[in-house]
Symmetry: C2
Subunit: 193 residues, 2 copies
DNA sequence: CCTACCGATCGGTAGG
DNA sequence: CCTACCGATCGGTAGG
């Protein structure tokens, strides 16, 4: 039987992942050192290695945790007509990004730093979210050839995901304002295609 | 007085920048080594340092060269009604990206690896291209509040720039097909806003 | 334009 | 004899 763990085991893991996300976002995965992550946690490097077997495992934890939140947000979109679902998804994603800018940036920029197997798992989860949008596109624009359905879905994610380069969640345009503008452009644009 | 230079001086610099762009795109700036760049050029590490004072200067050259091409493409868009200019710009950018996928990826992913002054210069050049789209937006949707004009322009670039994550230039959808779809969605979407 | 190196710092692990 | 953690240092490699 396993013996007792530190009472705050999960809390500590979460703190490490959080600090790592901020560092990886600011300086890049390869440039940020484990020593910096440890310092940001007020702990020793050995403590980090007690909780994670390696630096790369921390990167994977950052991405997996963020993707799990995105998938949950996508699944929480209520049933209804496709345009409503798309608006709801845009809003849910923008709200998720607003509170997780660092994790979002890491997910988008550091995928190549993962070994093939783990990268494939992340990509598969991303594709699951994309697939939900492809279904909406098929419903909104039935005349669109299947080949362009995927492209259309990716143009939607382009508008949404690119926001991390220019959008300030604390600025005058909140997550809902951006989500509405994205959904409006996409829905009217698709309909006219 | 300056002594003579190698006859193929510019050619060699271009080769270094090209090899570096491929390496930086594939492994990231921090993870790619100068030794790898040298090997890709069939040269020694010292040869690289003869042509560029440091690794970061090579990164800057990759970005500057690519942005110069993008700016030239943007300036080559002929005068006319804003919708026509936007369609032409989308096509010009997609054609530029099609032949420079590695440079495009480096420009989008490694900006943080540049020191503040140089990063500011790159950002300023990017903003110049964005400004041309803001002018088009103002012409297409005069009712749109100025504050949302910038956001709309960035949503356009989101669709365009995000293509580097999913689009295969050699696939069934060529640069013109993507550009047309982007322009159609954006123009119809904006008009209805 | 190369080989031979340097100061520094990396990710990861030893003993206690 | 366990888990949780520390100070110190390992072998190897980075940019220059």
């Amino acid at each position: 039987m396993a013996r007792t763990q530190a009472a705050d085991y999960d809390e500590r893991r979460a703190k490490i992942v959080h600090a790592a996300a901020a560092l990886f976002a600011a300086r890049g995965f390869a440039s940020a050192s484990v020593a910096e992550i440890a310092a940001a946690c007020g702990a020793s490097k050995s403590l980090i290695y007690h909780y994670y077997p390696g630096k790369e495992d921390i990167l994977f934890a950052v991405m997996e945790g963020h993707l799990a939140a995105l998938l949950a947000a996508a699944r929480a979109v209520p049933d209804g007509p496709a345009p409503d679902r798309l608006r709801a998804l845009a809003g849910a994603l923008m709200h998720e990004y607003a509170g997780a800018a660092a994790r979002q940036k890491v997910l988008l920029n550091e995928l190549d730093q993962l070994p093939p197997e783990r990268r494939a798992r992340i990509v598969a989860e991303q594709r699951a979210i994309v697939a939900t949008v492809e279904v909406m596109v098929a419903e909104i624009a039935p005349a669109l050839p299947p080949r362009q359905r995927f492209a259309a879905a990716m143009l939607f994610f382009g508008m949404i995901n690119w926001t991390h380069t220019w959008w300030n969640p604390a600025g005058p345009l909140g997550p809902d304002a951006i989500a509405q503008q994205v959904a409006a452009i996409f829905l009217h644009g698709l309909h006219a295609s």
